[in-house]
Every structure is written in C-alpha cells, then in structure tokens.
Symmetry: none
Subunit: 189 residues, 2 copies
DNA sequence: TCTAATCCCATGCGATCCCATATATGCCCG
DNA sequence: CGGGCATATATGGGATCGCATGGGATTAGA
C-alpha cells in the first residue's frame, strides 16, 4: 500500500548518483541526531534521512513508537523493530502471566503513527507526556531504531555517555577515521 | 476498508478463510490503547483501528467478549480469538477438571456483541459489573485480542506491568546483550 | 401501550491533506 | 571563482475528512 504516496515520492525520488556514497552507509541505519520543532498542531518532521531508512525497512504505512522502558524518551522504528517485538512475545506461552505483562507493556503502549505526505507525525498525548516533549524533539539514531528526546534531556544524557564515547573514539582512531562525515552537529555516539 | 461510512456491518458473513499471514500488525493486530466514553444509553464506540482489525479477522457481525479470567477487565476479539480459545482447550486432556473449569469459565460467559452501524456496542450488565465500568472504557490492544478496562484500573495495571518488564528485560540483557541503551545493533534478521 | 434496545441523523473536535513559504545546499554557467 | 537558479527539507496555515458522541425517531418485546 505505501500510503506515503503522493507527496513522498517527490521527496524521495532524488537519489542521484552522487548520493550513492552517502547511501551506502547511511540509508539502512538510523544515524546522527537532529532536532526539529513541534508546531501548533503537534506535528514534527521526521528527519529526511530517517524517513529514507524507514522506506528501506519495509515501512508499511506506519512508524512503530512506544515509550522507552528505562528513560524519558520514545523508541521508534519500522518493520524490523516490529518483528523484534513480535518475536519476543512469540516465544512465550499463551495465557501466561509473563506474556500478559509483556503484551500490556509492549503492544499496549505501542502506537502506530502514520507519516503524512510531508514526512511528519503527530505525537499522541500519552507519548508526549512520557518524554516531556513540548516545543521540540531531538531524534537520535540508534541503528535499528531511533529515539526521540526532549532536547535538554538529551543533552544530559549525552554528557553521561561522554565517557563511553571516549572509548569508542579510541577504537575509531586506531582505524584511521577522524574528521566526521556530513551532516549536522556531528554529534553522535 | 469498507469506508462506506457508518453502517456496513450488517451482513458481513464475509468469509475469509484466514488471510495472508502477514507479520506486520499495522492492520491485522490490535495495538495501542484508546479511552472512549459510555453514553447515557450505555453505548461505547470501538476504536476505529480496532474495527478495521476485526473486519479483516473474519469478523462475522459480532464481537466475542467475556470476563478476563484473572483481572477486572473484559477480553474481546474476533474469529481469531475464538479459534485460539478452542486451541487452548484442545490442549488439555478431555474430561479433566481443568478443562471443565476452563470451558465453563470461558464459553460460559462469552457474549457475542453486535456492533451497530456507528461502530458502537452495548455492554451487558454482567460484563460491566465484572470490569467496574461506568463512565468510560479503556481499550487495550494485545495483538490477537484486546481488553476493556476501567480507565483508573488500567493505569494501575500498566504501571505494574511495566515494572515487571524491567526485570524481565534485565534477564534478557544478562543473557548476552549490552546493558545500556539496549542497542539492538547486531540483531537484525 | 409502555419500555427498552436499535437505527439514523446531526454535530463538534481533532486528525489529515494540501498548498504556501522559508532556509539551506548544491549545481550550472558565465 | 562567484552569483543566481534549482532542489530538498522543514515549517506554517487553511480546508477537509473521519471519528467519537449525543439525541431523536423507530421498532421490538412484554
């Protein structure tokens, strides 16, 4: 079905030759961080590069989104993420307490958000509350999925992660990569 | 879809031998939670997305509904749920006490509710009492079925479920995954 | 005939669609 | 090598549509 339909095609059709390079590493995983505004109607634009990933991920008309279990943030992703959750439940016996609880915590909290023709979503009240979102959202790529944070809150979180980043950088340094790619603030973990 | 507007539910003996076993729950699974009001006549609107699921679940004009076995809530679903119950009973030895009890507990209290042209149902007194429903109902998607809770009661249940899942999750983490941001890195299919 | 359940229509609010604008980035061409 | 045109994304706002909800009309049941 791909309701992304009309408008979307325009947005994604570009993919010109020189983009290929970017695509090789950036199109199949959520990477980097972006901060977009929430407008008066509660809409937020999903970063274009994330949308591209969703497309490749077998995006079937919706973005799966739910409150992070251990942080004031939201987790989101496409089919790949959905299957993962499904698989987790599939392993548990029907009508077991364990399954019921997991079901409530996962299925019950999951929202299937539709992406409009302009690449935006509307965050339901419950989700916005969980992540304390009001004026803006910071999208953080995490590979198979991405998170949405309240900008300030993410800054805090990022500081905490700083130490680990140090370790990571050393590994990269050994490999020889230094100056960063593209895009934006180049801030990622 | 049958967006044909309100009434369209009437004669829907529509068949459906089990559709394609598509694994994406966008349309064939009950997900998310919604809270709707009960009006003066005792009617409640079933969330539109749930109705869509019921229609493709081989919904034959009625909604199977019965008191949850272990909670003050109601379980409901379409054909798929009915089959699942059958399967569950089939797994137990015939003539066992366990089976008898379950049969009575499940089949005995099952109500087949009709959905009116506007997508609403009327909950029988007995069911309303079991779940302490009065002014509003919280619909909770659980994949193959969904539950109906008294809003306040569900909040409690949700908190409980989430805290328990925290524990479950730690077990998963301990089993071979980084403890932090549960990066699903290497886990795609 | 009276009461209760069902049907049908009306309405309000929120969600969605579509178009317009702004800002950044790249590209072509002089 | 620099300026202007083309493209893409983000954002704003108006117009619409769908859904939840309410209430009157109608039918069924006692």
């Amino acid at each position: 079905m791909v309701p992304a339909g009309r408008r979307a095609s325009k947005a994604f059709r570009s993919v010109t030759s020189r983009e290929t390079e970017k695509r090789s590493w950036g199109m199949d995983r959520f990477v980097s961080t972006f901060t977009n505004k929430i407008d008066a109607k509660g809409r937020v634009s999903i970063p274009a590069s994330f949308r591209a990933v969703l497309e490749r991920d077998g995006y079937a008309g919706g973005l799966y989104c739910y409150p992070s279990l251990d942080a004031s943030a939201l987790d989101a992703g496409g089919e790949r993420l959905a299957k993962k959750i499904d698989g987790l439940l599939a392993g548990l016996p029907d009508y077991s307490d364990e399954r019921d609880e997991l079901s409530v915590a996962l299925y019950g909290d999951v929202q299937v958000l539709t992406i409009d023709g302009d690449g935006r979503i509307v965050l339901p009240e419950s989700l916005r509350v969980h992540a304390n979102l009001d004026a803006a959202v910071t999208f953080v790529g995490l590979g198979d999925k991405f998170q949405m944070w309240e900008p300030k809150a993410f800054e805090e979180r990022r500081k905490e992660a700083r130490s680990k980043v140090q370790v990571t950088r050393k590994l990269f340094a050994a490999g020889g990569r230094s100056s960063e790619d593209d895009g934006d603030e180049g801030a990622r973990e």
